[in-house]
Amino acid sequence: MSRYTPEEKVKLARNPGRPGAADFITALFTDFFEQRGDRLSGEDPSILGGIARFHGRPVTVVGHRKGKDLEENLRCNFGMPSPEGYRKAQRLMRQAEKFGRPIITFVDTPGAYPGKEAEERGQGEAIAQCLALMSALEVPVIAVITGEGNSGGALALAVANRVLMLEHAAYSVLSPEGFASILWKDAARAGEACGVMKLTAQDLRRGGIVQGVLREPEEGAHTDWEAVFRTVDAALVKELAALEKLKGPALAKQRYEMFRAMGQNMSLARREET
């Protein structure tokens, strides 16, 4: 039983003092080489990606980047990617597959950017292609949800063999504010929405949406980065070792079947054979 309510957890998940993708990369990886641009039209800093070593092993690492100060927040659009970001992620993941590198992603975003240019350049198409590509990758993919993972903009980096989640992170179909305003026409009821959305790591573990919950310091990840890094590092080592025993097609199959099963048995309950 957690000592925090879902609403308090969402607050913790959004705490700007939590470590982000850039911090995890600095702490857990060596030899990071940032890769930029989607090779089509632009570079979106709200997605950070590149190659690095993880315990000596070359890997591809991709994550949402919110930025650390206002200037960087603005440059990174507060972690809300545009299609160029998702297309860069696709490029990096395709390359990872070519070179047989495992992929590690860090998820922390209020959602994909709902802007005019983002729509014109095919935000929906860019996310869809991420999902399709990731579902079939023949290398190990591990996603870590570190802060808030909202909507398709988060899922686009989280079609993984293992989805891990920090204890006080949140992962949901939409922000609680958006959820409340769609269902109840009242964004002010976001707190109430947190209660019904089943967006905590514990609920999601129970629902089979995430495969591991990673312990945070009592007061949240922002209070002791070193402890969080140790926990995430150990989890990645363990999961990667397990996944590296599987061959490429088996990795794609395991991932496919895991997502294939989500929401399947529920509908099956009242199914008639046709």
Partner: protein
């Protein structure tokens, strides 16, 4: 194929289609776009495309199929698939039951096997009368099973989308249907399957950002609103008014995200041409 069965299926489809449109011969209906009133008889004759402004109003899934498929070829797939309530969301089961009563649909998607000019294909059609065609577990599962069925039978897959996006009442399980359907489509396509995705008004959110955008061919009805974020959310975000025609099919066509715009009366001809072009045979 047994002729009695196929006749019965046909009557069922026509009955469903009529029930959907509730055609009252004396009634007049206003166009939601331009406001012009026309008789339902006229509306129906034009497949619910406005006689005045050509706005393609949303139509039911069975009605759409009845107007596209060869007579007698309709065979519904997975019709028993029912929605779930994974969040135990207050009032949701009652809402689903009410909509089933009202529309005759169990959820917002219909899957079928059918023929167009003699060529077999698997169809999935979203129906916006059912919670805006939003994608919950039942819609995700139906689209996935349609893709799997098409893969097994080595048939082309044709999907008509109309959706407000994720089904909020099913929370994260709704979100996961994006990954599930995209994965199923990807697997079908890698196996050599032909997937034609047809957008209709309106298609937004998680459906645009998953299976609907993954077609080997992307087609749309005229004037359809297609996007990830809805126009209201965008205007609130950027605090300016969007240009006229933004996110409409014609806008997407000019920005490179559609192959072609297809008026409702031409679906049969266009789909037939594409199916024929993917048949084996022909030699130079």
């Amino acid at each position: 194929m047994n002729r009695t069965f196929s006749r019965r299926r046909d009557r069922l489809l026509v009955y469903q289609a009529m029930r959907e449109e509730k055609i009252a011969f004396s009634r007049r209906t206003k166009c939601p776009f331009c406001g012009t009133e026309s008789s339902d008889l006229e509306w129906n004759r034009r497949l619910w495309v406005c006689p005045r402004c050509s706005f393609h109003t949303p139509v039911g899934a069975y009605y759409r199929l009845a107007n596209i498929l060869d007579p007698g070829s309709f065979q519904e797939l997975e019709e028993g698939l029912s929605p779930a309530d994974p969040l135990s969301f207050p009032g949701y089961p009652a809402k689903l039951a009410g909509l089933e009563e009202e529309t005759g649909l169990k959820d917002a998607a219909v899957a079928a096997l059918g023929k167009i000019e003699g060529r077999k294909a698997v169809f999935a059609v979203l129906d916006s009368r059912f919670l805006m065609g939003s994608m919950g577990t039942a819609v995700g599962e139906k689209v996935t099973r349609a893709a799997e069925y098409a893969a097994r039978k080595k048939l082309p897959l044709i999907i008509f989308s109309a959706s407000g996006g994720a089904r909020m009442q099913e929370g994260i399980f709704s979100l996961m249907q994006m990954a599930k359907t995209a994965a199923a489509i990807q697997r079908f396509q890698r196996g050599g399957g032909l997937y034609i995705s047809c957008f209709t008004h309106p298609t937004t959110g998680g459906v645009t950002a998953s299976f609907a955008s993954l077609g080997d061919f992307l087609l749309s009805e005229p004037g359809a609103l297609i996007g990830f974020a809805g126009p209201r959310v965008i205007e609130q975000t950027i605090k300016e008014q969007l240009p006229k025609g933004f996110q409409r099919a014609e806008y997407l066509l000019s920005h490179g995200f559609l192959d072609r715009i297809v008026p409702r009366s031409e679906w049969r001809a266009v789909l037939s041409q594409l199916l024929a072009l993917h048949e084996k045979g022909g030699r130079i």
